[in-house]
Symmetry: C2
Subunit: 343 residues, 2 copies
């Protein structure tokens, strides 16, 4: 389908495959292909691989959108997208734009994934800047908390924060079925007087309603992530990225220290007894299980899987991409973005 | 000694007690007094309690600086300090200013502790704003990493960040004996092009030398706290507070989940075997053990202990306050603060 042609809708859209960047991530292409193969074998979701044929080997019958270039993990995102027009990332985003795929998934260069999606799919009407929404598991409820912006925008304005609240609520509703999500602002104290001028102004607007289908529950702090305080936590992309990486780094540090202890020969029997008790915790916080982060605010579904994704992460990311695309995430985000003074 | 009189120096200074806010914290006055008593009984460090006599009971012979007011945990810091001139926090800060104590320690209202220290002790010459320096244990080295600003200044400028690097390095050297501390900026990528304009400008100045007795090692990310990347991590007070609370909240969440698992009756034997192996980890990250945060940049030693401090935390906080006061922390911080363009 050519650029600019109307996208398929209804059943035709639902029959589209998910475009998967076969070249992106630390374990590409092996683990990416393995994940794609598992999805295709399961039968419910179609995959369109995007990659350089020479580097892929046997695709097991999965369709390929062939390209000639790869944007590396260390390439500058802007330059990469501008110069490598025939790269797997750019072609995957074009496949969504041109109605060849319902969504794109990449475990590659995060910045270049965002830039490809933004430049090729375009922003949804009224969206100031897209944001990265990342799910954070919370054992106190049945579904994750959504943190955004997790790093798309180092600099953020008040209207952007208000839109993040709107888009994040639409995502929580669509992906996790939360009827009226609780939205909080990340700050350094619960009182509305706490934080930067940015946070205080956004607080005032959101407290006045924010014109969204959500309940604003005020500020939360860094210690509240696992405490069922909110369904959506809104912050600027600098703070969000630092908080997310601090959380992930602390989890990884403790999990690996614990693993070191449990694998000492002298505690082998005890570790064996505890293993089944620890498994649900390890599984909940396994980065392979989250399904990846979502770029909200672009005109298409774009899932950003972590760089170290294995086949399990790819299966989850592709499945999530399919499910939210069919569920109408893009339409829900588009209609969530309204001027906060309205209605 | 009256206000404005020259402070004792040398042996006379070293013989001064540490002023301890007996009214501050969730467990005041019981645990505060218990901690003070342990310190005094050990014999090496003197304590001057500051509090409301009626509310304290038997002091076991520890000297008391009596006052009539208390700034509560929820009081507004600025108003509290302005209106409650005879509060334990304000009197403790005055005791340091007036040469009656070598240092102050409080587990009370953090904002009011900072305000009392700032307004009564004053800033050191050249210091733009004091910052809170918090130790973060790192199992990969023998001493903690210092994070600052952990929340004193929600809004921070480039010259402030450069001073935080200088003061943090002086603190790491004085408290942990690090000869030439490695200083890093907290950002959202290792490259100097990553982050807000604030971070990028500070990076350029620090990379050019920063005029301090430290080595600038560039940016670190939130995931690097436990990875022996730096001895001092510098950031604005908003990001620092969010990162610290995220780190603490994640640790507490995992520790408490683990405790829940280990106390299940069916794993009692296995838990007993593992307990001695887990103890060093639990002890390293026990908030009672860190000795509290330090307010750097004021003309006196001010230790901010966490609100839930028990007697062990107070013993550690009082001991740390004594040791850095005798070691010359204030003088070291004062001489660390230099214009970055010099020498």
């Amino acid at each position: 389908m050519a650029r600019g042609a109307p996208r398929p809708t209804g059943e035709a859209f639902n029959a589209l495959p998910v475009a998967v960047d076969a070249m992106g991530g630390d374990n590409a292409p092996g683990e990416i292909l393995a994940g794609a193969r598992q999805v295709v074998e399961a039968g419910a979701v179609g995959v369109l691989l995007v990659g350089v044929p020479d580097q892929l080997g046997d695709l097991g019958g999965i369709p390929l959108l062939a390209c000639t270039e790869v944007i590396g993990m260390d390439d500058d995102p802007g330059n990469g997208v501008r110069r490598k027009k025939d790269s797997s990332l750019v072609r995957a985003a074009e496949a969504v734009r041109d109605g060849q795929a319902m969504a794109m998934v990449s475990a590659g260069n995060t910045g270049a994934t965002m830039a490809s999606a933004l430049l090729r799919m375009g922003r949804l009407p009224g969206v100031i800047r897209p944001a990265i929404a990342t799910p954070i598991p919370d054992l106190k409820k049945a579904y994750p908390t959504v943190l955004l912006d997790a790093g798309a925008n180092a600099e953020t304005t008040v209207p952007m924060l208000v839109q993040f609240a709107q888009m994040g609520a639409a995502y929580s509703a669509e992906r996790y079925g939360v009827t009226r999500p609780r939205v909080a602002l990340l700050s350094i104290g619960e009182e509305k007087s706490k934080g930067t001028p940015l946070v205080k102004e956004a607080h005032a607007i959101l407290a006045a309603g924010g014109n969204g289908d959500f309940d604003f529950v005020g500020n939360v702090e860094g210690r509240d992530f696992f405490d069922d305080q909110a369904d959506v936590i809104v912050t600027d992309g600098f703070t969000g990225n630092v908080a997310l990486k601090t959380l992930e780094g602390t989890l990884r540090f403790l999990m690996s220290t614990l693993t070191d202890i449990l694998t000492r020969p002298e505690v082998a029997d005890a570790a064996g007894v505890l293993f089944p008790h620890l498994l649900p915790l390890a599984s909940t916080f396994d980065p392979e299980q989250t399904g990846g982060a979502m770029l909200l605010g672009v005109d298409g579904v774009c899932v950003i899987s972590h760089g170290s994704s294995g086949s399990v992460a790819m299966v989850n990311a592709i499945t999530v991409a399919h499910d939210v695309a069919v569920g109408g995430l893009v339409e829900a985000v588009a209609s969530s973005v309204r001027p906060p003074t309205e209605g």
